[in-house]
Every structure is written in structure tokens, then in C-alpha cells.
């Protein structure tokens, strides 16, 4: 790798690297200030909380790359969690079938989003706002009141540690390696970047624009369902909570931005979004170790989000040609 390659790599990954730096600093402070010494249990608890949001941020990343947005990810997650509380139980084979059903539900929801955006030519923000409401309705229908029964065996298998590493964290890495990396290197994944960078140019270059966009929303639905499944395994029940669904949707967008993916599409990736999600999650933990009143959490989250985004925008200060601000 030559120096020029390295420079290009750094400039292409400035966003995620900055977010990683912020996360390392915050998490070090958290571990340092934490009353108990660092233990596997402590990391596992942190991971279980962080991974759900990380998966949601990954889900949000792909539509954002195409210069879209998916406001239904929170509802798909909730719908999947409620479905999980209905079907994921019993003997292993039955639970496995249930997992398959839950993921399929997310996949179908994602395909519907994609088809409405592409074939219906409706703006993603309004299309997914509408479908999100529908999916939340389905979640309420599945689970009108909180409760249900989720396979404890599966929960135990996934929410503790394997060989000293939190299992949910391993799952997250596995999704990155086996879903994101292949997708990024696939023709469809390339199509998503191309569409987000310049849809007209992508069309003129013969890129499969419609297929790429549908793939983006489908992958978002699938990953949101996986997040919902994990959520139900951690809580051991399902609940159709509107504030939770909305909160996860908005935080997923925040995490994507903190992780360096451009809302204008075409640049960024899931690795950054995962780091962005971990940054957001660590804020709450930091407030906890500093004994700050929990009421302050939203305020601090907002401030940190602004700071993180400003770091990414710091390049603006170096620009001497103001026209470049707008390109």
C-alpha cells in the first residue's frame, strides 16, 4: 500500500474513524469511572444494550446510501419483536422456525417499502412513514398488551458471553462480515452507492436502479427484524410501544450520521453506523456513572450528537472556496 493509497483510505473513511475515536474516548472514561472493575458481565450488559441500536443503524444505512430514508425501521423492529413473542418458543426446532418467520416478516416489510418507493414513485420519507404506521398496527394486533413467551433457551444462548466475548457482539460482527461485506462488494450494493451519488448518472450508465433501491429497503427490513428479535430475547417478552419504535427510528438516523454516512447518499457504510450507534449508547452509560439525573439524558444526547456531527463538518473551516461548501 503506497502513501497515496493510505491517504485516499483515510480521506474516504474520515467519518467512521472520527466516530471511532470519540467512542474509544467515551468508553474508556466509562470503564475508568465505573464503580465495579471491568468484567465480562459488565461488557455483556453494555453489548446487549448497544447491539440492538447498532443493528437498527445498519438497517437505516442502506436506504440512506441511496439518498433515501426509512422511517419504518422502528415499527418493523417492534412488529418483529411482537411476532417473536408469539412464535419463538417451544423446543429448539419450533423456536428456529419461529426465528425464520420473524426474519421473513421483516424481509417482506422491507420489500413492500422498496416496491412502494420504486414502483409507486413515492418519496421514501412519506412512503415509509405510512408503511411504518401500518406495521405498528400489525404489532399492536399481535400483542395488544405487553407480554408473551420467548424461548428462554435461545435467550440464554444469545444474551450471555461466548469465550469471554458478549455473544450479541459476536452476532453483530457476524452480520457485518457475512451480510454487509458481501453486499458492499455485490453489484447490487455498488448500485446503491451509485444511485445515492447521482441517480441520473446511474440510470444513464445502465445501473439497475429499481433493483438496487428495492434491495436497500429489503435489507433494512431484514436487519430491523433481527434487531426486533434480539430485543425480544433480551426482554423475554414483546411490547408494541410507540415511543420505543419512534425513538429507535430517530436514533438509527442519528447513529448513521454520527458514523459518517452522508444523508445526501453515495458515501459511508455500515461499519461507521455501528460505531455511531455505540457512541450514542455510551452517552447514557456515561451519565449513569457520573450520577447525572436521568432527566438530563436527552439533553446530553442532543449536545453530543451536535458535537459529533460538527467534528465531521470541521473540514468546512478549511475550505477557501465557498462554492465547495455546496457540492
Amino acid at each position: 500500500m503506497t502513501l497515496r493509497d493510505l491517504k485516499l483510505f483515510l480521506s474516504a473513511n474520515r467519518g467512521p474513524l472520527l466516530a471511532l475515536f470519540v467512542f474509544v474516548v467515551m468508553f474508556s472514561v466509562f470503564l475508568h469511572e465505573h464503580p465495579r472493575p471491568v468484567s465480562v458481565a459488565l461488557l455483556t450488559a453494555a453489548s446487549n444494550k448497544g447491539v440492538v441500536l447498532a443493528l437498527m443503524a445498519m438497517a437505516q444505512t442502506v436506504p440512506v446510501l441511496t439518498r433515501g430514508l426509512d422511517l419504518s425501521v422502528g415499527s418493523i423492529m417492534t412488529m418483529a419483536a411482537c411476532a417473536s413473542s408469539v412464535v419463538v418458543h417451544g423446543p429448539p426446532e419450533q423456536a428456529a422456525l419461529g426465528v425464520g418467520i420473524v426474519l421473513a416478516v421483516g424481509l417482506v416489510a422491507g420489500v413492500i417499502n422498496g416496491v412502494i418507493v420504486v414502483i409507486g414513485r413515492i418519496q421514501p420519507i412519506i412512503a415509509t412513514l405510512a408503511t411504518g404506521a401500518v406495521y405498528f398496527g400489525i404489532a399492536l394486533w399481535l400483542r395488544p398488551t405487553p407480554g408473551g413467551d420467548v424461548s428462554e433457551a435461545l435467550s440464554n444462548a444469545l444474551t450471555y458471553a461466548t469465550l469471554g466475548v458478549p455473544t450479541t457482539f459476536l452476532l453483530l460482527i457476524a452480520v457485518l462480515v457475512f451480510v454487509w461485506l458481501p453486499f458492499r462488494r455485490s453489484v447490487l450494493g455498488r448500485g446503491c452507492y451509485a444511485v445515492g451519488s447521482s441517480e441520473g448518472a446511474a440510470y444513464m450508465s445502465g445501473v439497475a436502479v429499481a433493483r438496487s433501491k428495492i434491495a436497500a429497503y429489503t435489507l433494512a427490513g431484514l436487519l430491523a427484524a433481527l434487531a426486533g428479535l434480539l430485543l425480544s430475547l433480551v426482554a423475554l417478552s414483546g411490547e408494541a410501544s410507540a415511543p420505543q419504535a419512534g425513538g429507535y427510528t430517530l436514533n438509527s438516523i442519528a447513529a448513521v450520521v454520527v458514523g459518517g454516512t452522508s444523508l445526501f447518499g453515495g458515501s459511508g457504510g455500515m461499519v461507521g453506523s455501528v460505531i455511531g450507534a455505540l457512541v450514542l449508547r455510551t452517552i447514557g452509560d456515561l451519565l449513569f456513572v457520573f450520577d447525572a439525573p436521568p432527566l438530563w439524558q436527552p439533553l446530553f444526547e442532543g449536545v453530543i450528537l451536535l458535537l459529533a456531527v460538527s467534528l465531521g463538518a470541521a473540514r468546512v473551516l478549511r475550505i477557501k472556496n465557498r462554492l465547495e461548501l455546496f457540492t
Binding site: V187, A194, S205
Partner: protein, 518 residues
Amino acid sequence: MAAAGDNAFLRMDGVVKRYGGVTALDGVSFACAPASIHAVLGENGAGKSTLIKIIAGVVQPNEGRVVIGDRPVAFASPMDAAREGIACIFQELSLMPDLSIADNICITNPPTRFGFIDGRAQSRRAEALLARVGCEDLHPLEPVKNLPLSRRQMVEIAKALGRNPRLLILDEATSALTAADVKKVYKILGDLRQEGVAILYISHRMHEIKALADTCSVFRNGRHIETFTQGARNDEDIVRLMIGRELKLVYPPKPQRTVPAQPALEVRGLCWQQRLQDISLAVGRGEIVGLGGLDGQGQRELLLALFGVLTDQQGQLAIGGAPVRVSGPAMAKSPKLGMALIPEDRKTEGLMLPMSIRDNLSLAALSKLSRHGLVDRAQEATQVDEAVRSLAIKAGDLDLPVASLSGGNQQKVVIGKWLMTGARVILLNDPTRGIDVGTKQEIYELLRRLADAGAAILLYSTDYDELIGMCDRVLILYDGRIERELVGERINEHDIIAASLNLSRKDFADGAVAEETA
């Protein structure tokens, strides 16, 4: 058709294309042969773009048919056309700015291994293609958005070559290129012709067509007027076919000056980053001063600096004799300074494409047209109508989006928008790039009228002819400095080229002789 006989690669029979009530192509029959460079000529709005779009599968004809070999084809999308070996290099670049050069070059058909894109193979392919167009210095992983316009255009050409086209269409593909790049492109096109590729070449530059084309077709008002062998007709004839009337004098006469013009814009010792070095110049009232030189020698930056877009500049600027420090476009256009900048890229810096023609025209002058923050609609309407009339903008309805106009008319809107502010110092960045002869002449006359009315005009042009025909003085920039100032008889092609290449006159004269004898 005379030149493209029965062995045509692609034929069109009676093709009609209508957009709403406007007929863009009216029963066009056309053919292009393999192993031949076929130039397509016509004013903007003559139907050239629509012709290309149909061949490239971007739009579908309402009537008529397209035949490849002896097989009728119907392209539903650019992908279908690409499968038949048709590759297009569009005037509006079809590159994705966030993607790397290699990603862009291989976007249609990336090399794959086990179903995934093979990054190494892709970089190798991109490197090979970049070398073929003489751009070995570009790194395949560099994002396209980091490249200047001329490099992007070369990447675009490499991308089209990478598809091994059987029919290659170039739509004003050389408009942003440097002279050296144009030579490379000529060479590549010559090689492709030998390999049997059919080439459609659209250009407004007659000397390019003379140097390249085997066959020419002229279009006018959506009709195919005539096809002839290159050389069978002289310039006069071709221009007459294109516009259907005699075009006598292209450039308005320059005024004779007895007393030096009263200075309107004065610059002393302007420096910015490493890109502008110690620039001093003055433009007087009623003067048209040209900026020349090779592409990318700081001309664009100079205009942006004067307009206050660049921060951290050194040097002094005076407007109408009073020293000023321009903080940005808002201050530059204020009635006190009265500056206007007609930008290079009308689609991004000049126009709000989805907004109406009317809104675009009045946008820069809104502060003049409003009272207490409210736009005076009646006054706006009067002034917009006035601008439309004085610029002869051909528009059906002023409430249509400006994107619906042809390129030449869009450019008129950009110019009109700044004239409405009553600007007294007018900076123009290559205002006639990619527009037709008729509109060009109208713009020349307009500029001269403005100058005669007392405006100071600084005109950057990549077209030597334009500098020679239009300017009272020409400043040649080289590497961010003013290399030479040409006045009177010295404004000629030889001197301009010599100064652009930073050669003394004598060097150049010798070189030219050597080239001619070689």
C-alpha cells in the same frame, strides 16, 4: 442516405418524437455506418439531443423504427442500448461523484469473482483504460468528485471505451478538455474507426469536425436536412443549412477608442492560495477584456475571487475607483458594487432547475423588486417580460420549470437573471460553452450592447475565436499569473496560443514552421 449505404450499423426510419405538444423529431430517417466518424450538426433545439437519446435508449420514439443490422430494436432503457454495444458520452456528465474512478469506469459491467465485484481486477481494468486515454496520472481509487471538469471528461471517455462499443456517441464531449487532451481523443477516435466502430460526433466546433469527420448530417427544427461527405460543403454552406439563413457577421464591431476608458474594476496584487499569483488588472467602462489561456490556469478562480467567493485573498480591489473588500456574492451584487458573475456550470451554479423561468430570472434582482420583504409581482412581471424580450428567450410559458428550456435558452436565462440586477461590472465564465451558433451571436451582440451602455466586462473564454472577435484586450493566464496582455493587432490566434503555452513569440513561430514542414 448517400454516405451510409446499405451496410449501416444503425438505421432510423421515419422516427417521430413529441414532448407534450412540442415535436422534437419530425419523421427523421438517419443511418450511421461502421468504421466511420459521422458528425451531427445543428442549432440547439434542432433535435440532435433527442436523436441521441433515442439511440441510447433514454427516451422512446412515438413513431418510426430503429434498426440495427436488419433487426428492428426497441430500447426500453439505456441498459438495452448498452447490450447492443451502444455507448454514449454525454455533455452532462454521467459520472457518480462519490464513487471512485475505477467504480465509475466499471459501473455497467464490473469484473466479478464468485459473484462479487473484484476490486483488484477493477482497478487494473481502470488503469489500463486510463492509460489508453493518456491519464496515467489518475489514481483509480480517487473519488471522481475530487477531479476537475476536464479530467472528469477524460474519465467519462475511458468509461465509454471500457464497454467496447460498436457505436460510440460523443455529445460535446470535448467542450471541457484541454488542447492536449483533445489531441489524445482524436487519436483514440481514429483508432476506433480503424477497428470498425461507428462513431457519432456532436460538436459546435467546426475545426474539430473538419479534423475528424468522414460524414456530416445537418439537423434543423427536428428534421434531418442533409447528409454529405465531409469537405463537400464549405463553412458558409454548412452554417446556412444549420440556421436556414445567411449568417453574415459573427462578431459585432469593436469601438475605436481615442481616450482611455474610465476604470470600473481595478485589481492590484491579488493572490489566493497557490492558485492566483500577483494578479493586477483593470477593466474600464465600456470595455470587454478577455481572459484566455489553457484550461485551469486560474481563470475560474480569478472570477470567483473578484466575486467574493474565495476567502483569505490578498491584494486590493477597487470598484469605480473606491477600494472595497467583497465579502461574498450578496455584497458583490448589491447596487453599490453592481457586480454580476455568469458562472461556468449553469446547471448547478446558474439555475434552480425545478423553479420556473420567471422565478429564475428575478431571483438575483429580488431585493430591487421587493418592498418591505414582499415581492412586487407587477414590477417583477414587467421586468421579467422585458428581459425575455431583450434576450429573445424562446419559452412557451414563463411558469414552466427552467429545466424544460434548451441549453442555449437556459444560458440566456442565466445572463438575463444578472442583467436584471442592473450590473455594471459583468464577469463571465465561458458563457457560450456548448451552445449553438445562433445563440452565440445573440450573446455577442448583447455583450457589446452592454459594454456600449457603459458596463465593464471581463470575459473568460476557452474559444480563441471568441477572444479575438469580442475583446478589446486579452489577458492570458498561465499558472495563476497574467502571462501576457494582448492589445489590438496582437489579439490573434498565434499570439494567444504562444502566450497560453508560455512561449515567446519567436519560439512559437519556429515551432509552427517546424510542425508545418514535418
